[in-house]
Point group: C2
Chain length 405, copies 2
Amino acid sequence: MARIVKKFGGTSVADMDRIRNVARRVKAAVDEGHEVAVVVSAMAGTTDTLVGYTRDASPMHDAREYDTVVAAGEQITSGLLALVLQDMGVPARSWLGWQVPIRTDGVHGAARIEHIDTAEIENRFKQGQVAVVAGFQGLGPDNRITTLGRGGSDTSAVALAAALKADRCDIYTDVDGVYTTDPRIVPRAQKIHRITYEEMLEMASLGAKVLQTRSVEMAMKHRVRVQVRSSFEDTPGTLVVDEDEIVEQQVVSGIAYSKNEAKITLVRVQDKPGTAGFIFTPLADANINVDMIVQDVSEDGKMTDLTFTVPADDLERAVAVIEKHRDDFPFERIIADRDVVKVSVIGVGMRSHAGVAATMFRALAEKGINIKVISTSEIKISVLIDAAYTELAVRALHTAYGLDA
Amino acid sequence: MARIVKKFGGTSVADMDRIRNVARRVKAAVDEGHEVAVVVSAMAGTTDTLVGYTRDASPMHDAREYDTVVAAGEQITSGLLALVLQDMGVPARSWLGWQVPIRTDGVHGAARIEHIDTAEIENRFKQGQVAVVAGFQGLGPDNRITTLGRGGSDTSAVALAAALKADRCDIYTDVDGVYTTDPRIVPRAQKIHRITYEEMLEMASLGAKVLQTRSVEMAMKHRVRVQVRSSFEDTPGTLVVDEDEIVEQQVVSGIAYSKNEAKITLVRVQDKPGTAGFIFTPLADANINVDMIVQDVSEDGKMTDLTFTVPADDLERAVAVIEKHRDDFPFERIIADRDVVKVSVIGVGMRSHAGVAATMFRALAEKGINIKVISTSEIKISVLIDAAYTELAVRALHTAYGLDA
């Protein structure tokens, strides 16, 4: 007997037939003797409709009213799934955020969960009742409904699993797990059976859009074992776990890439202490996230070129911010380049293995791919290259690290 | 400065343009210096969609989950109206049933309001804030959402007006008031400017579907002045008030009719004490409402015919119940007639005027209309006639009581 939290996203509960499919999966777990809490999103499309209404109602909307309107979507699904489960003979009841309650801070529209009172849900477990919890929502300090921001149901599920000390949190989605890279680019990509939180975080933030970054952070913090699996196929998915649960650690677990990158080069800025601060402070103030940064060694000790990346969506805004502050840090000219991609190799194993970077550079060089910027962390190496080489680079690296099936 | 509750039904908030129209009406009242609470229904069609989902989910549905799902409709509208009001510069916030809270009993799907805590709403009035309250919903003793049954938003509005000691409760609907009879039958029907609670109750339950019967009962009990008016035209409507507020009382205020009637005659039942009880007890147990009852004078003192009416929808069920119990009260045969209509003249003035019934019988006789059953109360006289004569009878009576414009 295990205690399991299962989360189903919007496509998994898009209509009554799919809700019945979800109920069958929940029933199977109940029949195996498990205690089950289910977290549901709104039916696919509902949230968009409701968000559209709020925009129409008021462009500068009050986030408290936005939350009131949008949270109705998960409310509907939770009631419906409870009804379908009952109809299948499985005792179940819906729990809205304010009923559990799932207490959050007061940041409406992007609230953070602070505490979940699970006493009553655990009581009901003893009576064999399934808890169907509306995802994405909580109760703010003002006694009003809060929402956790887009994709927040993943976070609801992991937080609930942590509070319930659940044995596992299953996240059902439209893919059947996390792959060593994008299978559309590399058909021989393999499903990863176990991955560490740290690797998953890198995979998530680098564009493998399977799990919300915040939910992975929360899982890591509370050591919640998360399983990513398919809503539609009954195959084992990918288990996201602590490093020590992984017996045979690969050096490199996966190859990720992100197209939402843009490169900015400031040509001939003054090479003196504090320049970087002058440049990056106004960007931070404008809420623009600077990622990779490279400063050339200056030839004369006075002038240098500074290159960095920002999200492609923020490129125009970033250039505008820099132009506005150019008096604070004179430079000759600015080069903006949207035609780049960031490719990363990820693996906790590289901490204890030398030569991982060398393998990467050699593999790319063999294909004639030029590296523009490099950045590294303990468990990943990222390079910025021409976008045209994305597929070529990903395939070459996948082979170079022995990941092909 | 007055304190006013305004209630808008589903067609009045059917889309964003109509919600903006509602907001303009609310703003006008605020600009006049009034304290305003607004009660809203779900957008037209939403409740039907949600009810359809629950039926699909489980034919024998758990009313607690039904309430959770269906209440989402009013939740959405209340948030949207608050947003639109804010956008027009009117301070406003939404209040869900559990937030006010509007405490009800635990009869999910058909709950009764027990107490409304208005302290916080009244605090906000002092700051000039409009309260937008989700209609139709409350909080049950089990900390779950309850709904008041179909049309319950009228009841929400009147109950809120009573709790707030409001000067008036405006019910906005798609007609502009209560008429002396159905204007589709009598084009010369007149709008009634003031009507008593008692008359309105008779009008409502007899088929003039303007106000929910329960809401009128509640208004009468708490002496809430209710105004029925149009959402779309800015004309004065019909004020439902205490009898002493009506200076010049008509003898007859209106002519109502109801087509949802069916007549049952039991031919040759035993004429002895207790027979009626034997017959009507099983019908009451089956939740079938018996209305008009006539027992012929028996010729031989042993056998008599018994005629009564039931709602047309319940006719088949009623006949089945009687057949099942026929051993308890032997009769010769049963005649069921669906082809009847009940026409009523209503007016508190008839208490102090003789000859009202005589006028009715004469007017119908002049048109050759046969009366099958008669029943009377202090303020109404009802007759059952052939359905084919409905329009003729209503028109004749409207003229006979001097109601034509």
